[in-house]
């Protein structure tokens, strides 16, 4: 039924691979080639800002930093002393992470193991929504709930809880995902041989899922260290380390923000802002690197489990 198409002696100019290279074809090929050069250049749009940012902050902060600056507990409003903010930030993050892990780890595991598919879908959606909420809204929530309704005022503990609520969806998601990605055959083998759910979680799931959960915790910490709104809106600042749950407290990011506010008037505030920014960047980048390394290790391990 083929028409005068491909008879063996039909002369089709396109058959000549050299002369068939028409202008149109060369245009198409040329366009493709130039995209191959132009599009990768767009990476610069992402690369230049981040390199510039890290470089700028580092070059401003490193010359002024010293061990003394980092450990001195003086009044950071009148002298270059970061001891108090560093310790307070550490307290904040540790406590908030603990709470976030309690919620997120158990919640994530429960979602992966116990909930029906329908319920699990709802729960996961809510975790995603929580993760997507603007930090200012979580801050508002913390202020209204903890500071006003619970009557804690602008206090350390209000900040800890608000921060932990902000951080928990990340731990939740990774814990859930970690347990859901346990290789099917291993999970079925365990349950098939009569393992009870709690035993399974402790003895089989956790060892396998552990690296992934660890990345979730570090990730949450990295996010927590860099947050401003949840803290500033719920905690009043102080130059002292918090003495009790209801006392005021400061935070590294708060120093940066104050530096911005007083950039024109106070040189010290700016110096401290750079230093604080540097410390935060180093911490966050270090955590990110650790996360990546652990994630790569985890992927290898997981692949090994599939044989």
């Amino acid at each position: 039924m083929a028409t005068a198409l491909v008879s063996a002696t039909g002369a089709d100019p396109a058959d000549d691979l050299r002369r068939g290279d028409t202008l149109a074809l060369r245009w198409r090929t040329g366009f493709d080639k130039s995209m191959g050069y132009l599009l990768p250049l767009l990476f610069l749009v992402a690369l230049i800002p981040i390199i510039d940012l890290v470089w700028y902050i580092s070059s401003q902060a490193i010359p002024t930093l010293s061990w003394q600056v980092l450990t001195s507990y003086g009044n950071y409003q009148s002298q270059d002393a970061l001891g108090v903010p560093i310790v307070t930030t550490f307290l904040f993050v540790t406590l908030a992470t603990t709470i976030a892990v309690c919620i997120g780890l158990f919640g994530g595991i429960a979602t992966a193991e116990f909930l029906s598919d329908q319920t699990a879908a709802w729960v996961r959606t809510s975790a995603n929504l929580l993760a997507g909420m603007p930090s200012v809204i979580v801050g508002y929530f913390g202020y209204f709930l903890f500071c006003l309704y619970f009557g804690w005022g602008l206090s350390f503990v209000a900040g800890v809880f608000t921060l932990s609520f902000f951080m928990c969806p990340y731990v939740f998601r990774t814990a859930d995902l970690a347990f859901t990605s346990v290789p099917r055959h291993i999970r079925e083998a365990a349950y098939g041989s009569g393992t009870k759910p709690v035993q399974y979680i402790l003895k089989v799931g956790t060892p396998i899922a552990f690296p992934q959960i660890l990345t979730g915790v570090f990730l949450a910490m990295a996010i927590g260290v860099g947050e401003t709104a949840p803290i500033i809106l719920t905690v009043s600042p102080s130059v002292l380390v918090p003495t009790g749950l209801l006392s005021p407290a400061t935070y590294l990011t708060y120093l940066i923000y104050t530096g911005w506010e007083n950039a024109a008037t106070s040189h010290l505030a700016l110096v401290i802002a750079y230093q604080a920014a540097f410390i935060i960047i180093v911490t966050v980048l270090a955590l990110n690197v650790v996360v990546r390394v652990v994630a790569a290790w985890y992927r290898k391990r997981l692949a090994g489990l599939y044989q």
């Binding site: 039924m1 083929a2 028409t3 198409l5 491909v6 063996a8 002696t9 039909g10 002369a11 089709d12 396109a14 058959d15 000549d16 691979l17 050299r18 068939g20 290279d21 149109a24 074809l25 060369r26 198409r28 090929t29």
Partner: protein, 259 residues
Amino acid sequence: MSGESIVSNGGPVVSCQKLSVVAKNRNILDGVDLDFAPRSLTAVIGPSGCGKTTFVRTLNRMTELTSGLKVKGAVYYLGQNIYDRGINPVLVRRRIGMVFQRPTVFPMSIFENAAFGLRLIHESEDEIDKAITEALQRAGLWDEVKDDLDRSAFSLSGGQQQRLCIARALAVRPRVLLMDEPTSALDPIASKRVEETMRRLKEEIVLILVTHNVGQAARVSDRVAFLHKGSLIEVGPTAEILERPREELTQQFVTGHFA
């Protein structure tokens, strides 16, 4: 010699000469010499890992997509080495089409799928219409889809999708069609339809079929080439190779002593 005169003199449409493919340290393909005459269907068979897929992919320069593969030797299409400098692979692939293992229809309507190649070279709408109809007929799909070409291609069954892929490849009027195990993802009935299409097409163009199914080779091919560990062991008319092969290895493979 121009393309037409090669062919009218009975010369091969495609000719491989000392074709080798090297990756890292291994020879995936080692010194293959093979010619393909017009209007024929050559089945390339061999155990898994023998290099038959790689072989077929060198014929339209698809090996370039995998990093680390080096092609040595030459592949002549109507007398021109497709690996020459200055030959555009895009053009080569229009003359030497390919159908893959799984049906790979694009997320578009049946019409748009078939028209894909033609739209690239800016044929007029009329031309495209005619070419589509023809291609779908040649692929044996026309009767089943002619009432609604604007349906999504995904509404077709697997076997129909594969025939659509064949039509899509035929629409740009290639002289050669490479088929890499085109029925391995299909059930027997769909496979039969595709084999019918192959039998019709081999009257018109050159078909090179990679298959692990010796029965299929027996049913559709004129010629069988047997590859083993990258080397061409034996090639000849189907009946000969399958019933009275000269080489020991061929005999063993064909009788199922190893797969």
